[in-house]
Symmetry: C2
Subunit: 366 residues, 2 copies
Amino acid sequence: MRFNEELKRLKVYEAGKPIELVVREFGIEEKDVIKLASNENPYGCSKKAIEAVKKNVEKMNLYPDDSMYELKKKLSNRFLVDSKNIIIGAGSDQILEFATRAILNRDSKVLMSKITFAMYEIYALSQGAKILRSSCYRHDLDEFYDIYKKEKPDIIFICTPNNPTGDALDKKYLYKFLEKVKNCLVIVDGAYMEYTAYKDEKKRVEPKDLIENFENVLYLGTFSKAYGLGGMRVGYGIANQEIIKNLYKLRPPFNITTLSLKAATAALEDEEFVKSSVERNFIQMQRYVNFAIKKGLEYIDSYTNFITYIFPKEISSKEFSNMLLRRGVIVRDLTGYGLNAIRVTIGTKEQNSIFFEKFDEVLNEY
Amino acid sequence: MRFNEELKRLKVYEAGKPIELVVREFGIEEKDVIKLASNENPYGCSKKAIEAVKKNVEKMNLYPDDSMYELKKKLSNRFLVDSKNIIIGAGSDQILEFATRAILNRDSKVLMSKITFAMYEIYALSQGAKILRSSCYRHDLDEFYDIYKKEKPDIIFICTPNNPTGDALDKKYLYKFLEKVKNCLVIVDGAYMEYTAYKDEKKRVEPKDLIENFENVLYLGTFSKAYGLGGMRVGYGIANQEIIKNLYKLRPPFNITTLSLKAATAALEDEEFVKSSVERNFIQMQRYVNFAIKKGLEYIDSYTNFITYIFPKEISSKEFSNMLLRRGVIVRDLTGYGLNAIRVTIGTKEQNSIFFEKFDEVLNEY
């Protein structure tokens, strides 16, 4: 028995530590643990989604409608695209998996920003592709274009707003780049787009407009963030039908659960929840900005539901986040991404107050 | 943009028609549709699983514990294997996907029975592998061995009991084969094993015993059938740690939902539900056997929660199942598998009575 060569190069994605683990490892009570590590929606999800799940909980024995007719119809109405332009995944992650498996092989190359969502690399490596990266954590699309011309990558990943840094691209700047890039799939990952669109209209990217203008672009969205359904694993891809048809070939049957399907479908009937989550997010975000300024900490202006604090050399982000962890506050250390920084999910008012308090404690002790 | 060659050969898996679709297409009321097409547990699932979901429904915003600590611990106790011998998938399907992607490439071959679970072929083709099949729908392991010696496949799929036919292998016969097969991964798919083990102790395959004896075997089990959680997408693979470690490299983070994790974990605390489901299944199964005998219909002796009726030439299983469909009874036509037969999930007493009634109606009209 021999495993494929690609596996040797594969890293395992490091997820945010779950609350259960902190409870187990540090003996802290569950109610005293604050997780600001996975960009989950701190306001939960729509009551309509909760009702839909409760109503269907006795149907867990039944497979979901694998055509996902209702969900696709609702998404189609929401984004003004045809259902045939939509594919549903177990999180937008799974659409990334379909796309990389559909296109990449051992002779392929992919291009992404220096610091961006870790799964791009993992999926590309699992297909044996070569990874090319720009030199800056921000998406410098001029540099992207230079590399594109020279290296001819098969997929370009554009994460806007970018995770784990939080910065976002102007739509005009993105479009100027897309107009020049014809011979590869461009994945525009808008997992946090609801936040960006609220904060700055100039940075809003609409999938309808995108796919009408560019036949080689796949837009990704998710129910995990602004819709508050991270635990239910539902995301979507929007692209021209030719792309969708090919991705569909790699979609396993029943790729989202019966309850996920019901929850996501119901969540689309409650845009009010999304709006309120996003509004509250930016009110709380301001506190994080103020706190950073007060402490003289460098931060990245964020268009998402998280903020990145960059530490001075004297403070190790790894050690700092471990010290927070022992106090029951889980944040994401970005050392693995090559940044001496932490990424903090903007929580509820109460959670954020505790974060500031514990941060101060650690700072004093450091 | 160019898609991988493999996609051209890929078929899309045809799932059992969902109730929603029959409601939409034929205007039949939901309460009048009986789905006996996807081998779902007609008795629902454990009340403990339902309670666990209700209790956690407000946590849909939170990602699951990606270590799946509790679930693996419970499975480890249930099967008397180490947690490190276990991997969890979104259905056992996903473990098939990991295994095929970990091992197969364009130079690979796989071996399976002439008629068996359709996803084996689909996953193998998506990796570009060549498909070898034995000539009989039953697993003739002597023929398997001849092909193994000659063709040196990289993966052998053994589905016991076999889906969609329902027959199962004697453990001794299987072990005799496994002892001779050393240089490839053998996947023993026991998705319906709870049913088989109840009906015939000689056909029971225990993962602990299996992996202690054979280091190249991967056993698959699922919560979708006897545990009644088909809609929640949870399955597991059990194998030696080397295999599990490699499969883990292809597991995407958060591959089952927060509620699926809670439901499956709770379901393992209620073996009584499984036992009662299986017992009732075989009481009802006897009615299907009697019915077939009375009608002079050929059937395959089944070790699962479904039964296969093979039709005489004069009756087209495709047409017959369409006629049932228009009466609100969904069964699985096996024409696509090369059998003029239908596969019928053993339902509840009431569902089965309606099935027999509608079957008679169609027979009279045919």
